[in-house]
C-alpha cells in the first residue's frame, strides 16, 4: 500500500496559534489511499491540530498539504470525540444533515440516511432524539452521519475516547468492518495504545512541546483482526514497542 501514490501529504507543516503556542512543528506525513493510520500521543501534542488542518478548519502557519486530486479535498468526513449531534433533531435528521446542506431532496436524504443508520446497527432508532441514546449509540449516529456522504477520507478525533472499554471494543470491531467494506482511508486520533494497535496499519507516534511527529510503527497483522488478536503475543509486542517509543518521545 505504501507504494501507491499518496492520497494526502503533509510537507514540513507547522502550526503556531495566535497566542504563540507551537502546536505542531515540521510535520511530514503521507497517507496512501485505503490506509488506516493512527496518530498516537499524549494530549497537547498537536493531534487535533493535524486533523483540523487537513479538514480545512485551519491553515498551516508554514509548510503545505498536498492532495492527489484537489477535487477530493472536500471529500472527507470528521468525527469528533463528543458525538456533536443536534439535540433538537431526531437520529434520522442528524444523520441526513450533510446531504441536507448539500441540497439533496428530502426523500432521497431519508432513504440514504436510513441505509447509513442500518449500517451502524441502529435500525429502529430513526425517530429517537440524541438524549435518549447511550454514549455508544450517539457515537454510532455520529459515524452514520460521517459515512453518509461516502467520503474518501475519514478523520476521527478520539471518537471512542469517552466510552467505556466494552463499548469501545465493539465499536472498534464494527469500525474495522466498515472500513474494509467501504474502502475508506482513515486517519484516527487516539491516546490509547491498544486501540491504535488493534485498528491500524501504521501508528504515527507524536511528542509534545512542541507538538511533532516522533516516529511510526507498522502493524503487520492481517485483517480481519478478530478478538483473539487482542490477546496474542504479537499484539502485546507491538504495544510494548509503542510504549517504549512514547517514553522516548516524552523524554526528549
Amino acid at each position: 500500500m505504501a507504494d501507491s501514490a499518496p492520497l494526502l501529504q503533509l510537507h514540513q507543516v507547522s502550526k503556531v496559534y495566535r497566542n504563540g503556542t507551537v502546536a505542531l512543528q515540521d510535520a511530514n506525513l503521507a497517507i496512501a489511499p485505503g490506509e488506516f493510520v493512527s496518530l498516537l500521543g499524549a494530549s497537547g501534542c498537536g493531534k487535533s491540530t493535524v486533523l483540523r488542518m487537513i479538514a480545512g478548519l485551519g491553515r498551516p502557519s508554514t509548510g503545505s498539504l498536498w492532495w492527489d486530486d484537489p477535487s477530493h479535498q472536500g471529500d472527507l468526513a470528521f468525527v469528533f470525540q463528543e458525538a456533536a449531534l443536534m439535540p433538537w433533531a431526531t437520529v434520522l435528521d442528524n444523520v441526513g444533515l450533510p446531504l441536507k446542506l448539500k441540497g439533496y431532496p428530502p426523500r432521497q436524504i431519508r432513504a440514504i440516511a436510513q441505509e447509513a443508520i442500518a449500517l451502524v446497527g441502529l435500525q429502529g432508532s430513526e425517530l429517537t432524539y440524541p438524549r435518549q441514546l447511550s454514549g455508544g449509540m450517539r457515537m454510532r449516529v455520529s459515524i452514520a452521519r460521517a459515512l453518509i456522504t461516502d467520503p474518501r477520507l475519514m478523520l476521527m478525533d478520539e471518537p471512542f475516547g469517552a466510552l467505556d472499554e466494552m463499548t469501545r471494543s465493539r465499536l472498534n470491531a464494527d469500525l474495522l468492518q466498515l472500513w474494509r467494506e467501504k474502502q475508506w482511508t482513515v486517519l484516527f486520533v487516539t491516546h490509547n495504545i491498544y486501540e491504535a494497535v488493534y485498528l491500524s496499519q501504521r501508528v504515527v507516534i507524536m511528542a509534545p512541546q512542541p507538538g511533532r511527529i516522533h516516529g511510526e510503527i507498522t502493524i503487520d497483522a492481517p485483517y480481519p483482526r478478530l478478538e483473539p488478536f487482542r490477546t496474542s503475543p504479537e499484539f502485546s509486542q507491538y504495544c510494548r514497542a509503542i510504549a517504549e517509543q512514547l517514553a522516548i518521545a516524552d523524554a526528549i
Partner: protein, 273 residues
C-alpha cells in the same frame, strides 16, 4: 405509557411538594389576613379582608372584566411586537460584530431608562392614539430580555457543530436556519417568559402614567380610580385580577416552552434518578 400510570402521575404532580407547599402557605396567610381584619376590626378602606375582596370582585365583575380585557389586549400586542422585533434585532446583531457593538448599547439605554419617565413623552407624541402609545410603552419594557437572551443564544452554538457546518460548506443562511436559530431557541423562550410578565407591567405602568389623560378604560385606570374614590376593596379586586393575569401569562409561556423543548433540553426534562 398506560393510561392508569398517566393518571397517577398527573395526580401525583398535583400532590407534589412544589404545588402543595405554596398552596398551604397561601391558605394560611389568607386565613391569618382574614382573622387579623376581623379581630382588629380594621375598616375596609384601610385593609379589606380576602373574603370581601372576592365578594367585590364578583359584584364589580361587569366593570372590571372589560377593563382587564383592554389591558390584556395592550399586553398581548406589545408582547408579540417585542418577541418578533427582539428576535429580528438579535438575528441582525449576530450578522456582524460591528452591528452588535454599535447598537447593543442603545438597546441597553432604552431598557434602563425608567418607563415612568418617558411614558408621558410617548403619550404626548401619540396623543391621537392613546392605545398605540400604551403599546409602545409596554413594548419598550418588554423587548430587551428577548434581544439579550436571543443574542446570547445565537452566539452559543456548539463548537463542533459549527465546524461540521463549515466542513460541509453550509451557507450563512443554512447555518442560521439549521444551527443558530435552533441553538438559540431555549434562550429565546427564556426571554419570552421574562418579557411576558414585563409586557403586563409595562401596560399597567403606562396606563397609570396616562391616568385621566389616557383611554380611561384599562384595569390600571380602574385601580387608580378606585384608590382616588377610596373604594379600596374594588382596588384590591382589580389588583387581584392583574396579578392572576401575570401568573397566567407565566404559566402559559412555561407550558409553551416545555412543549417546544420536550425532546431535547435539560430545562424541560425531568430526570429520573
Amino acid at each position: 405509557m398506560n393510561p392508569l400510570k398517566t393518571l397517577r402521575s398527573r395526580y401525583q404532580s398535583w400532590l407534589s411538594p412544589e404545588v402543595l407547599a405554596p398552596m398551604i402557605v397561601g391558605l394560611l396567610s389568607l386565613t391569618a389576613w382574614e382573622l387579623l381584619v376581623r379581630i382588629t376590626g380594621l375598616p375596609p378602606f384601610l385593609l379589606p379582608g380576602p373574603l370581601l375582596v372576592l365578594q367585590t370582585l364578583i359584584t364589580e365583575w361587569g366593570s372590571l372584566w372589560p377593563a382587564l380585557l383592554i389591558t390584556l389586549k395592550i399586553t398581548v400586542i406589545a408582547f408579540l411586537l417585542a418577541a418578533t422585533s427582539g428576535l429580528l434585532i438579535a438575528v441582525l446583531f449576530v450578522q456582524s460584530r460591528w452591528i452588535e457593538r454599535s447598537f447593543f448599547p442603545y438597546a441597553v439605554i432604552l431598557q434602563t431608562t425608567p418607563i415612568v419617565a418617558i411614558a408621558p413623552l410617548i403619550i404626548m407624541w401619540l396623543r391621537n392614539n392613546t392605545f398605540a402609545a400604551l403599546v409602545v410603552c409596554a413594548w419598550i419594557v418588554a423587548f430587551f430580555p428577548i434581544i439579550s437572551n436571543t443574542t446570547l443564544g445565537l452566539h452559543s452554538v456548539d463548537h463542533h457543530l459549527n465546524n461540521l457546518f463549515q466542513l460541509y460548506g453550509a451557507s450563512r443562511w443554512q447555518t442560521l436556519i439549521y444551527l443558530r436559530l435552533p441553538s438559540a431557541l431555549p434562550y429565546f423562550l427564556g426571554g419570552l417568559k421574562i418579557s411576558g410578565g414585563l409586557s403586563l407591567i409595562g401596560a399597567v405602568v403606562a396606563e397609570f402614567v396616562a391616568g385621566t389623560g389616557g383611554a380611561r378604560s384599562g384595569i390600571a385606570y380602574q385601580i387608580l380610580m378606585s384608590s382616588y374614590n377610596l373604594q379600596i376593596p374594588r382596588m384590591f379586586a382589580a389588583l387581584l385580577l392583574t396579578t392572576l393575569s401575570g401568573v397566567g401569562i407565566f404559566v402559559g409561556l412555561t407550558a409553551l416552552s416545555n412543549a417546544l423543548l420536550k425532546h431535547w433540553h435539560d430545562s424541560a426534562i425531568r430526570h429520573e434518578n
